[in-house]
Symmetry: C2
Subunit: 394 residues, 2 copies
């Protein structure tokens, strides 16, 4: 189990081991859990998890896949005190031949790297981690739901484990990955979900951390989220005050899209830009790329005429603009996209004691439906597109 | 050990127990640790810690004081994933008769309550927690250093322990308190410390969480802190861009003060206002109150003539103003104040590739020295002032 260093620091310094999938130790559970029929997001964990630790003197430990279970940590650990904790959200799907598949997982690894850098956690080899995640998925593949719209959610996490109290980077860390079977994040069978637009509390700010997937971006939303729920809204739409206007940023668990009709029948699909206050969602990127491919004639999205032009725009959207477009009858639909929600219609937006009612109150419109269908088809391997879906192999 | 409810929720709901110091269970360590001669801040923990847990169905558990040791937590716990983690920094001092003393600890309890509210953690009874903390201090009182400028740092912490992955408030929590003997936070014997002013990364913003003592306010500073250290600065001075100017906010571990001379010899002592972007420091408040008491003739600060007027101002300070005051020779000194640092001279501020050199490069000036002396004298019970220092009993 002794870690063999891949790199040799100069002049007799201790060998700092890289993350190395070939050192994997697998300890399988003696008894496997029954798989629940239906469950809330994150409620049940699969039989196993992946765990690797980092120490400044030795580097990454030998990775271990072992039965899912609790950690033992010192009360002064940085993860509790100063929160250098990052995570990713990925999903495994079952393909046409029963094979487990991941979706653009290299994008998750790149984002995890950037997140870890942002809070000064130790670096890791993305390719090695992906090999380990695939191995974990294969070991617990019986947990991947086959029901339409269901999947196995994968949660890679890195937490700081330094035990000193001085406010400084955590030079030790724990990297772990666990998985949970999941159905729809929100029950939206009744139509579009209601969001509460909030600008008094601000999720992110220029120079802040909103463009990274850090655990610490989430807790400040708990209280506003509770208020929103009491008022009958299922999630918050975060606004950013900017020069007397309120810019729409994102909804915490999803990026925001609005489809606007031009007089000539062409459609503008608008989403806020990645200015550092918005999470660079992988579903967001995929939707933009699919819409562009449709308009460029490289594919035809399901249910949309090949001749329908769909122009994507990454640019600021203010609440005032959205209200004006809605009043003028130009809004076709608004939806949120993300790994957890896929593509979810937005029915109305509560703002300043009024509700902005959107056409997507009845459910996804033509663009949202096409994106949801196509994204799910790619994720489950029913539609091959630019290598976005990868088969997990041992 | 069964918790007896103090409040009875209506109609057969389970009894939700309040935090109750009278239920304390004490399990003393069988062997006590040797007390280290000298140690870095936070390096050594005392023999015992206080632990209480909260579950939504039963409320607060019976508090327990037990040997300091690790926790066992589920990998999906909210504290790792979404960071609803809050803490306090307090200190215990030894008084003239060897008695352990706390300093304005009710202020820490009030702030902890506000912090917990901000991230939707369960509420707790401040008075009961304070009784428990005093009990812990008494049990480990042999750890309180007697050396001048040394003390026993106390770290109350509450972390969210909900194990579901949906982004929502943690309805279960762990409250714990541990302690560590500490000397000076920075070695400033050589004079004022150098700060690096940073505005590209922003610590806090209007509508953000900078006015609360949340763990999540700290990790985003690790990377800039590392850069600052490489450039030879020991801490960051966080700036907030505002209408083309850069406002000085705070330094992460301390609030910022600058002393400016008027033409008539009176002194202005200026510190940024509590606008929600700045931690409401208890040392900050104490310094303001002591300066006001001096000017109002209610006390005479050590080393300052009774006739010297010291006018306190809580108002924004821009980097441009500070530079102008310095150039005009009006700055008497600048210092940082906080529980960990007490009163610490600021020698220079790196800003836009230049260093703003301050008179306090040589060490604390007359005002900083007076405040440090008086605060330490009150904390150690050598000077009685408005009940700020409380003797721990039981």
């Amino acid at each position: 189990m002794a870690a063999t260093a891949k790199t040799s620091p100069p002049n007799g310094a201790a060998h700092i081991a890289e993350l190395d999938a070939s050192k994997l130790i697998v300890n399988l559970a003696e008894t496997l859990k029954p798989i629940p029929e239906d469950a809330h997001f994150g409620e049940h964990k699969t039989d196993h998890m992946l765990v690797v630790s980092y120490e400044p003197t030795t580097g990454w430990s030998a990775p271990e896949i072992k039965p899912y279970g609790p950690f033992t940590l010192d009360p002064s650990s940085s993860c509790f005190q100063y929160c250098p904790n990052v995570f990713e959200g990925m999903k495994a799907y079952v393909g046409p031949n029963g094979e487990p598949r991941l979706f653009r997982s290299n994008k998750n690894m790149e984002r995890l790297t950037r997140s870890a850098e942002r809070v000064a956690l130790p670096p890791f080899d993305e390719k090695e981690l992906l090999v380990l995640i695939k191995r974990l998925v294969m070991i617990d593949k019986r947990w991947i739901p086959t029901k339409e719209g269901h999947s196995l959610y994968i949660r890679p996490t890195i937490i700081g484990t330094r035990t000193a109290l001085g406010v400084a980077a955590s030079d030790s860390a724990l990297l772990y990955v666990f998985m949970t079977p999941t159905g729809p994040y929100f029950d939206s069978s009744a139509g579009g979900i209601p969001l509460q637009a909030v600008s008094k509390t601000v999720r992110s700010w220029p120079g802040g951390t909103g463009g990274h997937k850090l655990g610490l971006n989430y807790a400040p939303g708990f209280l506003p989220q509770r208020v929103a729920a009491k008022d009958g809204y299922v999630q918050i739409l975060w606004l950013l005050p900017h020069e007397g206007e309120e810019r729409i940023t994102e909804a915490g668990a999803m990026n925001f899209f609005v489809v606007v009709k031009r007089d000539d029948g062409d459609l503008d699909v608008v989403t806020p830009p990645l200015d550092g206050t918005i999470l660079p969602g992988i579903t967001r990127l995929s939707c933009i790329e699919l819409l562009q491919a449709h308009t460029e004639g490289r594919t035809v999205l399901p249910g949309i005429p090949a001749t329908q032009r769909l122009y994507t725009h990454e640019r600021p959207i203010t609440m005032r603009e959205l209200a004006a477009w809605t009043e003028e009858g130009k809004v076709v639909e608004a939806f949120g996209v993300g790994t957890a929600v896929a593509v979810l219609p937005i029915g109305r937006i509560g703002h300043e004691e009024r509700d902005l009612v959107l056409p997507s109150q009845e459910g996804l419109g033509v663009v949202g439906k096409a994106l949801l269908r196509r994204v799910l088809d790619i994720q489950t391997g029913r539609f091959e597109w630019e290598g976005w879906s990868e088969v997990c192999e041992v």
